[in-house]
Amino acid sequence: MNKSVYDSPDNTSISRRHILTVLVDNEPGVLARVIGMFSGRGYNIESLNVAEVSNDEHLSRITIVTEGTLEVVNQIEKQLLRIVPVHSVSNLDEEGSAVEAEVALVNIDLNEANKKKIYEVCDFYRARKIENENNSVIFEIAGASERINRFIKEINQITKIEIVRSGPVAISTYKNTEEE
């Protein structure tokens, strides 16, 4: 469970994926404070997503996917709360029910031979083609990370692709009784 110079007796807890959602004042340096805490204390960031969610109040929402035992993740939450511009931290996994979604853009090497197969896969996964001036073949897919993983795996078997992913954002399915 712990971070200490001495051996820890407690290796029994299971390490798994957690999604943290952090509401912060959108002020200079706030993201550096958050990610600096992770690297400085030796925690992991699997993915990170940040955008302003309230213009007039200058609030941003940071979604962080991390891996660790519950003890470690609890410690991460407490360390995040020490950061002055942080309003609130919640562990969506711990609360039980949350929905998450991610966006990926995929630039696909398309030719006559693989065209049909690729469109089939894209249709199946509801990936949407985005028109662009260079006439390259770019698909957008949104949804659960696991579904995007499967989509990429299948397309990869057919042809060469270039991918960019947003990392998941997530929201609790409970009725909004939150602060602010």
Partner: protein, 588 residues
């Protein structure tokens, strides 16, 4: 109500509004406008140090000896990077500091300008919070928030970086009382939401057979009332109490329930009692690794209560049974009230058995050392220092190493805020500038820096500061020509290979003092010691007392790295078994 003035004037006005009396600093290009404004006023005193590192430790000493915020003013680039050690020190030991740094003008930021550095970037992990202020109108709100954050919750350092053009620009000054700080930016105590926790605390203590109080620096940070409440609770319960390095002075050394310091070089009886207790009441301490020793053998059979203002300390390294997040003073007030309201008592016969056991451990006499007629034993030097200064208003600061542990063991503290030492970060070079800060804050007090010959050289340049301001700070060097603690670890854990721990070519400390127009004294033999100490105390000048002590004395008792509380090494059985030496070597 709100006034127009330059950024530099806003800085000074904010300091005045915050009740600041002294600023420790060093000028330079990027803070010249502030120094110009400083020149034109009389309400704030500036103490010019000789290196910025000295300024921040002096501010720490000022803060720790008064409970007020210490203020530092330095320039950009090297001025800012030189305070990084002190900021980290203040962060680790929870010392309220506001550090003002100059920055290059905004149009030069990012151009690798002369004396430019990313100050907020560098100091982000070693401050509670920091700011780069780009708008002169925001300066006063930032200052007032910074002073609040520095003292709020668990105190710590806050840094304000101000580009030079912002210091020149005109802006509006907003008064302290017109600033509203959003509550999420401050500490929100959980305690007020949950009184049940207090019942659990009281319940556990009242049923304990072998209770112990484990008292930390939080009891000092919480203010003078906290120490009173701690003694009150200790007396109500009749339980023994031990203090961390940072908590020394909360409960007077002479208090019958005090077992003294615990931890790596703590008292045998304190560590044994921690190991064997059935209820541990941690008040304002954080289960530091110097205190716990091996985690899986730390107090294995106890229920643990943890009162801490910083929630991230709860269950960080040691799992506790009853966590209470809150300020020591307010929590203890409730605990004592509930205790008294329910007319609770601890079981006296159980407690007597517990004290009998503790008194048996005391018989070991863990601080025993063999005195010597030819050489001054360092322990003896501290004992004499205590005896000859105990009736004065004395502040003791230390550097870091063996001398620090001997001071903690053999000097007896009766009051909080009188003992100033770098506990968390362990900064050599802390003690002398901290003594300067404490002396500035307490001009009539006796301020002594107990130092080692290696540590003192890390900030020796501050002699010039001490002499300039006629600060009668005393430097009491336990001179063994070694980095003593490094030497001790090399002896015990590295086969006696004394790699780079001997200091050749030490200065003649008496002549060194004289060259700064201070007083230099020296004691080489035990019979000279008292005279030197008395002369040191009685002069009203800065003094270096160079005390030649036994060169190879080790600091005991000791819990070696990787050992448990009940595996202490005492001076008489210093032989270390090979296996634990191998295990301990890899740890810090």
């Amino acid at each position: 109500m709100n006034q127009e003035m330059t950024g530099a004037e806003v800085v000074l006005q904010s300091l005045v509004d915050q009740g600041v009396e002294v600023v420790f600093g060093y000028p330079g290009g990027a803070v010249l406008p502030i120094y110009d404004t400083l020149f034109k006023q009389n309400s704030i005193k500036h103490v010019l140090v000789r290196q910025e590192g000295g300024a921040i430790h002096a501010a720490e000493g000022y803060a720790r000896s008064t409970g007020k915020v210490g203020v530092v003013l330095v320039t950009s680039g090297p001025g800012a990077t030189n305070v990084v050690t002190g900021l980290t020190d203040a962060m680790m030991d929870s010392i309220p500091i506001v550090c003002i740094t100059g920055q290059v003008p905004q149009h030069l930021i990012g151009s690798d300008a002369f004396q430019e550095c990313d100050t907020t970037g560098i100091t982000r992990p070693c401050t509670k919070h920091n700011y780069l202020v780009k708008d002169p109108n925001k300066l006063s709100p930032v200052f007032h928030e910074a002073f609040t954050i520095a003292q709020d919750g668990r105190p710590g350092p806050v840094l304000i970086d101000i580009p030079k053009d912002v210091q020149f620009a005109n802006g509006t000054y907003t008064k302290k009382e017109n600033i509203i700080i959003p509550p999420h930016r401050l500490f929100e105590p959980e305690i007020f939401k949950n009184d049940k926790k207090i019942d659990e605390v009281v319940n556990l203590i009242s049923k304990a057979k072998k209770p112990i109080f484990y008292i930390g620096g939080g009891c000092i940070n919480s203010g003078p009332k906290a120490a009173e409440l701690v003694s009150q609770l200790v007396e109500l319960t009749g339980a023994p109490a031990t203090m961390t390095l940072m908590g020394l002075g909360v409960l007077g050394s002479s208090h019958p329930n005090s077992l003294g310091m615990l931890g790596m070089h703590g008292m045998y009886e304190a560590n044994m009692a921690m190991h064997d207790c059935d209820v541990m009441i941690n008040i304002g301490a954080r289960f530091d690794d110097r205190v716990t020793g091996r985690l899986d053998a730390f107090s294995p059979n106890s229920k643990k209560i943890h009162i801490d203002i910083d929630e991230s300390n709860i269950n960080k390294t040691i799992k506790v049974d009853v966590p209470v997040v809150g300020d020591v003073t307010s929590v203890l007030k409730r605990v004592i009230k509930v205790w008294n309201d329910n007319n609770l008592k601890t079981n006296q016969s159980d407690l007597k058995l517990w004290w009998d056991k503790i008194n048996d451990w005391k018989k070991i006499d863990c601080l025993h050392f063999t005195n010597n007629e030819k050489e001054i034993k360092p322990q003896y030097a501290i004992q004499r220092l205590y005896e000859l200064t105990k009736n004065k208003k004395t502040f003791i600061t230390t550097e870091v190493g063996q001398h620090q542990m001997w001071a903690a063991q053999y000097y007896k503290f009766e009051k909080p805020n009188r003992w100033l030492t770098s506990g968390g970060l362990g900064t050599m070079g802390y003690g002398f500038p901290a003594a300067i800060g404490a002396q500035v804050a307490n001009p009539d007090a006796l301020v002594i820096d107990v130092a080692g010959d290696a540590s003192i050289l890390m900030n020796i340049q501050e002699m010039s500061t001490a002499v300039q301001y006629r600060l009668p700070v005393k430097i009491f060097i336990l001179n063994n020509e070694y980095m003593g603690m490094v030497r001790q670890w090399q002896e015990l854990l590295h086969g006696g290979r004394y790699s780079e721990s001997y200091t050749d070519s030490l200065p003649d400390f008496v002549k060194l003092a004289e060259s700064y127009k201070a007083i230099g004294l020296r004691a080489k033999k035990p019979e000279e010691l008292d005279d030197v100490i008395n002369e040191m105390i009685n002069t009203d000048k800065t003094v270096i007392a160079d005390i030649w002590v036994s060169k190879e004395e080790n600091c005991f008792p000791m819990i070696q790295s990787g050992s448990a509380h009940n595996e202490m090494v005492l001076s008489k059985d210093q032989k270390q078994d090979k296996l634990s030496a191998e295990k301990g070597k890899i740890l810090v």
